[in-house]
Amino acid sequence: MSLNQVEHELHSRRKNRNVGLGLVLGAFVLLVMGMTYVKLTAQNAEMAAQRAAEQAAAEASVQSGASD
């Protein structure tokens, strides 16, 4: 009876620690995924804006060349 209780106490401590660590690792994976998504989205938007600005500048130079 007492033996079972001792084992149960030790096991519950270890289980508590393992479940906690598992949840922390799971949350960390989700956080890194989220951070990656946000960073890539921002980078893509920045690149698209840069490309649009370059295109507009090229079109403007072509038009000014044609009017000359």
């Binding site: 106490e9 401590r13 508590n16 479940v19 906690g20 989220g34 960073k39 921002a42």
Partner: protein
């Protein structure tokens, strides 16, 4: 003990998840989270909410890691002081080497992850905070000089600067003022505590001002630092993080803190013993409210600014 008896004591290595969390000094971590968050939100540049959340989390983990390293280094005196005897290492739940490995790993992890989540200026400031708290304060100053609290307070004052750097990528007058506010607040806050936790520090041989220079000198120091703190706290009200709400809050809080510090200075030990350090305890509690309310006022100014009412503009 008979051959069939079973050791029912919880031995080292049987620590629960909560014991590891306790190693991170959650109460100190809550102050780190709050001040870093205010620094981040008060900054002029907005940060994506997820990156802001991740950054504050890594700042908190870095602060917690330095707490674990502090507990590893101070395990010998934590066993003596009644206030710290229930910590995981003196309680025998976590081995000293394990606490060191835990703290060292989390320190590197937090700095690298903060660099990836925000920028390397913020990560560098976090690394400096951990270094300052563990090496400069815990290993060097704490046991060698009564000025331990004064200089060591810099570690606790850095989180709003880190939060600000997460958003701006740099350091500015406003973030230095938030740092100075906490830096100057720390000595009177801890000395008020040292006045009524007197035997703890003496028994552990920590050279707190109360132990080395006596209690009368400590009372004088509390008043001097509170007087020096007031213009810094109120002066911040005229910068970009301040405004009418902050200024009014700061003036009221500083009047209250100055009155409390004056009362402490006026008392002698006989009076304090007679009412069980009533004034010292109330000033200590007020100092917590003082810091919290200053940072809430900075946040209020920032949110009012969204509706065109914050600051001096």
């Amino acid at each position: 003990m008979s051959d069939t008896s079973i050791n029912t004591r919880v031995s080292e290595g049987d620590a629960s998840f909560g014991d590891y969390f306790a190693l991170l000094k959650p109460r100190v971590m809550s102050l780190v989270v709050f001040t870093a968050l205010v620094g981040l939100l008060a900054a002029p540049q907005p940060v994506h909410p997820l990156l802001a959340f991740a950054s504050v989390l890594f700042i908190a983990i870095g602060g917690g890691a330095s707490g674990a390293l502090n507990m590893w280094w101070d395990a010998d005196i934590d066993r003596i002081m009644s206030r710290t005897q229930s910590r995981p290492i003196p309680a025998g739940k976590i081995a000293e080497q394990e606490a060191f490995a835990f703290g060292a790993f989390l320190s590197v992890f937090a700095v690298v992850m903060l660099g990836l989540a925000s920028n390397w200026v913020a990560a560098g400031l976090l690394a400096f905070t951990i270094f300052f708290y563990v090496v400069v304060y815990s290993m060097w100053l704490k046991r060698s000089t009564p000025q331990n609290i004064v200089i060591g307070g810099a570690a606790g004052a850095l989180p709003p600067m880190i939060g600000w750097a997460v958003a701006t990528g740099g350091v500015s007058v406003e973030s230095v003022l938030m740092f100075t506010l906490i830096f100057m607040w720390t000595p009177p806050h801890f000395w008020a505590l040292a006045l009524f936790m007197k035997s703890d520090y003496r028994d552990a041989g920590v050279p707190m001002l109360t132990v080395t220079h006596g209690r009368k000198a400590t009372r004088r120091h509390i008043l001097i630092y509170t007087i020096l703190l007031a213009p810094i706290a109120i002066g911040a009200g005229f910068t970009a993080i301040g405004g009418p709400v902050y200024l009014a809050t700061s003036i009221l809080l500083n009047l209250g803190f100055l009155k409390g510090a004056y009362n402490i200075w006026q008392r002698d030990e006989a009076e304090a013993e007679a009412d069980d350090y009533k004034v010292e305890k109330s000033v200590f509690k007020f100092s917590l409210l003082y810091l919290f309310a200053h940072f809430v006022a900075i946040l209020v100014e920032k949110f009012l600014a969204v509706y065109g009412m914050g600051g001096w503009a």
